[in-house]
Assembly symmetry: C2
Homo-oligomer: 378 residues x 2
């Protein structure tokens, strides 16, 4: 539909809003690239290494990596007033609401003239602290001081559980963060850029992105997968469950993707991690259910000519479960990683900013006759 030279694209479907050189999602080949590097090459890197790559556009050398690693660790603290805010919020709050509020409030701790990169590194380090601190407060537990020795993955587990983290678990956590750092123009990145395009401050833009990620159409799907796993109960039940679900035309959370036409490259990696973690702990049931579900669904849907594959959410919930992470922190975990991508997008956009300003198609009336209050019908 064309209206005087403009085009009606409801939900902006099919519209390219901007250009970017941060992330490429190849849905046909099932490949994901950060700054041109395949995600399969990057999973062996550290959190600071991939953060550097996303923010700066190149892989760091030894010196650069030491610097950013050190800086991220050094910034592991939140101001006293943020702890006060966390402790003044109702315990019924969702950690994502707390995160959105705290990120906006953290903006007040920075001067306008502080370099953007300083703000970014500081905020990336603060995300896990806000999430873990609020969760512990909710449970009646004290805030845990951050260790400077842990990796980013280990640090989150340490401040969540108040214990030195297991090396292998820390590595799994770090890999999960890397896999979730960036994924092109998803809804939250779009929100960050839309807000940032008014030249709103960094924290104001990121806070809005957190709000967007809290939306059930964006974050939160991995919680739904755990519900399905629970509902199925054991691997033998998968076949009957799938038959019923297909009959009911039920949407299977964690399967299918708007861009990936094949299995999500991140799902392969998460599956491997889940499998080894399940075997190590001897707690393999959820993995077996999921694997059976993947295979059964693929077969059934192939028969219908519409093959369907796991996306990034399919295995991650069960994996977080094995790491002892409570469900309400699943979306915050996503945010702890994705803040790196949001930040990279703001850095890129602000180098040549342009206000995002689409239009609305007006479908209402005009020139309504104004009726004074006393003459309006009741």
């Amino acid at each position: 539909m064309t209206v005087t030279g403009t085009e009606f694209k409801r939900g902006l479907e099919g519209v390219i809003a901007d250009q970017s050189s941060i992330c490429l999602v190849d849905g046909v080949e099932g490949k994901l690239y950060y700054r041109g590097y395949s995600i399969s090459d990057l999973v062996g890197c550290t959190f600071p290494e991939v953060t550097y790559l996303l923010l700066k556009g190149k892989l760091p050398n030894q010196k650069e990596l030491s610097e950013i690693t050190h800086k991220l660790r050094e910034k592991r603290s939140i101001p006293r007033f943020i702890i006060d805010i966390i402790h003044s919020l109702p315990k019924s709050a969702h950690p994502m609401e707390v995160l959105q509020a705290c990120v906006a409030a953290l903006g007040t701790a920075h001067h306008d003239d502080e370099p953007l990169e300083e703000k970014i590194i500081t905020l990336i380090s603060q995300f896990p602290i806000i999430c873990a601190s609020y969760y512990r407060y909710k449970k009646g537990q004290a805030v845990v001081p951050s260790s400077q020795d842990e990796s980013e993955g280990g640090h989150f587990l340490q401040i969540l559980k108040d214990a030195q983290s297991d090396k292998e678990e820390a590595r799994i956590m770090e890999t999960c963060f890397i896999l979730h750092m960036e994924h092109g123009f998803n809804a939250s990145t779009f929100a960050a850029r839309a807000i940032g395009s008014t030249l709103a401050p960094y924290h104001a833009s990121i806070s809005g992105a957190v709000g967007s990620l809290y939306g059930p159409l964006h974050g939160g799907a991995n919680e739904g997968v755990l519900d399905i796993v629970k509902e199925i109960g054991s691997p033998e039940n998968v076949s009957a469950w799938v038959k019923k679900a297909l009959q009911e035309k039920r949407k299977i959370t964690g399967m299918g993707h708007r861009v990936y036409k094949v299995k999500d490259p991140r799902a392969y990696i998460l599956e491997d991690l889940l499998k080894s973690c399940a075997e190590k702990t001897g707690n393999t049931k959820n993995y077996e259910i999921l694997k059976e579900l993947e295979v059964t669904m693929k077969l059934e849907m192939e028969k219908r000519g519409k093959p369907i594959y796991p996306n990034v959410d399919f295995f991650s919930g069960a994996l977080y479960n094995l790491l002892g992470i409570p469900r309400e922190l699943f979306t915050p975990l996503f945010a702890i990683a994705r803040v790196v991508g949001w930040s990279a997008h703001l850095v890129e956009m602000w180098q040549d900013n342009r206000l995002y300003r689409p239009k609305l198609l007006y479908q209402g009336t005009r020139d309504e006759k104004f009726i004074p209050l006393k003459n309006r019908r009741s």
Copy 2:
């Protein structure tokens, strides 16, 4: 530029993202309609009356107006934890940062199953309290309990100044709010809808809109007009100032509008209010400077074939000034009014939601060869 069936519209210029029947801006005729009613008819209404119109799509009758008026007054309070948050924030914060954080935090005080309309009316009533309370805290002054007797315009002045408001000033304030309640798909409304389209909660969406309004490309222009007025100093200097500004190709804040090709209909109303307020107080200098600036700019630009006219920001700063409102509350005043429009847009959108998801044009590389850390050049 067309890329495999999609179109590159940088900044989404000229793209219609959605449909709406809330607001029509007729830039050629210089008319603004809320739900089909001309703004010139609505300026005589009350804040609750126009709020009802925007939210419900029709003018309220006597009974409906009493109900919404009563409800807005009844909801004039903020939870204790929001006062605690306000009092824990650094005094160097901008009220817009505080507002964004508090709105996100207020989401935690509402249940998911509370009717949206309840949340909306409550939040609309809370906006002025947050802004006035933080401003007073910053100045070392106590929070003022809200009067139930004042109109919305009067209530804001009452809690800001801790005094019963002057009837005429209260009416001017109310009119300013009505003029700023809605303006179609401006950047903050776009942000609210973009976040809300993920089905993020109401407060999460509004908080993001506040962040967007804080961006200097969106809110804040009326502060800039006051700078110009100060720089000019007196009406006799206008002519020389304009000559110099035009030579320097300086952009004149408060003049010109992306949609209005004539004088902004709101500027006519604000000019009248400023004039009468200036005459009443005997403090006419700023009005005279602005009027002289408008006339001179129009003449000069007409000579160049590019006539330019005042927009909504041109007279409002000077008017707020006469009402004794400090500059840093100018953008919060905008938010106090615009939250009504944002809310109307969310109500409308959620009746038939569709995720906003444009694309980015990838301009980077792919298949970069991964170089292990030890081999990277320093």
